[in-house]
């Protein structure tokens, strides 16, 4: 839908630019004409480019986008495994928006986090096309508690667990990881064994 909008706007801008190119001589002779050229050359194309970038950032945060690279396939499959791994539970119980499941757990939540996440994504792209992914793939930095706390921080169910309050300060400083106790995140073993949960159609 958004992509369709961007494409239509681009086609319109291209048509306009061609017309302006043809009429440049006459238009540049008057002030009004110069303003028309300014709109067709600066204002509209810049607005469309910005819109296109914004749509691209959203599209490139979608689960389907992450899974367009084969290196990510097992992680995508791990959304569907049977068991109590964090990723499977969050995805299957719809605790995260399924369309953005990978992104909400893996983006950088700090300031300008989206930009930094995209830049680090650029690195995945370079490795994908020009390098070789390590096997197994590893996180560039250990998983930050802030990403879990972004959703859980002051939620009642989280706060009502004693140990969470006891270790709150340590966890805020990343000296103790959520994953120390909540162990399995992506259950790749279950993926290799083909242990998937199947919703039963009724």
């Amino acid at each position: 839908m958004n992509t369709v909008f961007v494409i239509s706007a681009l086609v319109l801008c291209i048509g306009l630019a061609v017309l302006l190119l043809a009429g440049a001589e006459r238009l540049m002779a008057s002030t009004a004409g110069k303003l028309v050229v300014l709109a067709g050359i600066g204002v509209l194309p810049l607005a469309v480019s910005t819109g296109g970038l914004a749509v691209g950032v959203v599209n490139s945060s979608q689960t389907s986008f992450c899974l367009s690279c084969h290196e990510m396939t097992p992680y995508g499959q791990s959304l569907f495994v049977d068991g109590d791994s964090l990723v499977a539970v969050h995805f299957q119980d719809r605790l995260v928006d399924r369309d953005f499941a990978c992104y909400v757990c893996h983006k950088d939540y700090a300031m300008f986090g989206d930009v930094r996440t995209k830049l680090s994504g650029l690195n995945h792209l370079l490795v994908h096309y020009f390098g070789e992914a390590p096997d197994p793939i590893e996180l560039y930095a250990s998983y930050p508690n802030a990403n879990c706390l972004h959703c859980h921080d002051d939620s009642r169910r989280y706060l009502e667990v004693d140990v969470h309050r006891r270790f709150a300060a340590e966890m805020a400083r990343d000296e103790r990881s959520c994953l120390d106790c909540h162990r399995s995140s992506h259950d790749l073993e279950a993926v290799h064994e083909g242990l998937f949960w199947q919703a039963v159609a009724r």
Binding site: V11, A24, I41
Partner: protein, 65 residues
């Protein structure tokens, strides 16, 4: 460069940028998004800058600035 040629150059840059954006939007993939952002958008920005520069130069020449 006279003003008209500069404006044509600006329009051509802008047009090229928009065409790159169109093609990469139609064939959406990780790599095409990079091309959209690193080639398509800068070309449009370059076109705008050339146009603004031309107009300013003309204004200055006419004594308006």
């Amino acid at each position: 460069m006279n003003a008209l040629r500069a404006v044509r150059l600006a329009l051509l840059l802008c047009l090229a940028g928009l065409l790159v954006q169109l093609v990469t939007s139609l064939a959406w993939s990780p790599i095409s998004f990079i091309v959209f952002a690193s080639v398509g958008v800068p070309l449009v920005v370059a076109g705008t800058l050339v146009f603004i520069w031309t107009v300013l130069r003309e204004l200055r020449r006419a004594g308006a600035l």
